[in-house]
């Protein structure tokens, strides 16, 4: 495969993905705002300045795209020895992930058709779910197969 990154990117991805999700969670739980209040010494009872929102949005975007980039690095890094069985496993995992993503989309739209369509935030979470379902299924299946086969040592 031509488009695979060197193996060292996998380690970078394993650090970047959790860091990204942590940043995103810190923003969602209001910890970034609390931190900014602590640093600036502003009294929040009179409202917070507008730049707090800008910083929060920036952190959320950096966290989400950092997480996505981390997943990309994990998914598209070469194994130490890249051979035909690993390439076949990678291809099968892609097919599996695409199937899960398709089922996720169908289930989501059927839910919207027969029940209440979600509001803006719900739709955003649905689209994030579509993107993540593919990556998470691919990475989980590929690594599960590689590790389960590695464990079957019968020397």
């Amino acid at each position: 495969m031509k488009f695979l990154l060197p193996h060292k990117f996998k380690r970078a991805g394993l650090m970047l993905a959790p860091a990204g999700i942590l940043l995103w969670l810190l923003m969602q739980t209001g910890k970034i705002t609390s931190f900014l209040i602590l640093v600036t010494g502003i009294d929040p009872s009179h409202g917070v300045p507008g730049y707090f929102n800008t910083i929060n949005s920036g952190v959320a975007i950096a966290g989400f795209f950092g997480f996505l980039a981390g997943l990309y690095f994990i998914a598209f890094s070469r194994e130490p020895v890249e051979d035909e069985m690993i390439q076949t496993t990678r291809l099968e995992s892609f097919q599996f992930a695409a199937l899960v993503q398709f089922l996720f989309i169908v289930a989501g739209f059927l839910f919207m058709l027969f029940f209440q369509a979600p509001k803006e935030t719900g739709m955003m979470l649905f689209f994030i779910g579509i993107v993540l379902s593919f990556w998470i299924c691919f990475i989980s299946r590929f690594n599960y197969i590689m590790h389960s086969r590695g464990r079957w040592k019968t020397n």
């Binding site: 020895v81 051979d83 035909e84 069985m85 690993i86 086969r149 590695g150 079957w152 040592k153 019968t154």
Partner: protein, 67 residues
């Protein structure tokens, strides 16, 4: 398809890792072939046969269900 890779490899006195190095694949690939969960390509089968000093037919054997 059945194979006698494990028997031939152990008879030769080499480990899965050593055989994997010789044919330039990962150890997982040798494990998967030995356990019958992966059928190697013609190229890899020929490489394994060459390293073990056998014919491909001596290592890999078709079963009735493959015909």
């Amino acid at each position: 398809m059945e194979n006698k890779l494990k028997e031939l490899r152990t008879a030769r006195g080499s480990t899965q890792a050593e055989l994997a190095d010789e044919v330039n694949v990962s150890r997982q690939t040798i494990i998967s072939i030995e356990s019958g969960r992966y059928i190697p390509s013609v190229l890899l089968s020929l490489k394994i046969a060459k390293v073990l000093g056998k014919k491909v037919e001596d290592i890999f054997e078709l079963q009735k269900c493959d015909l």
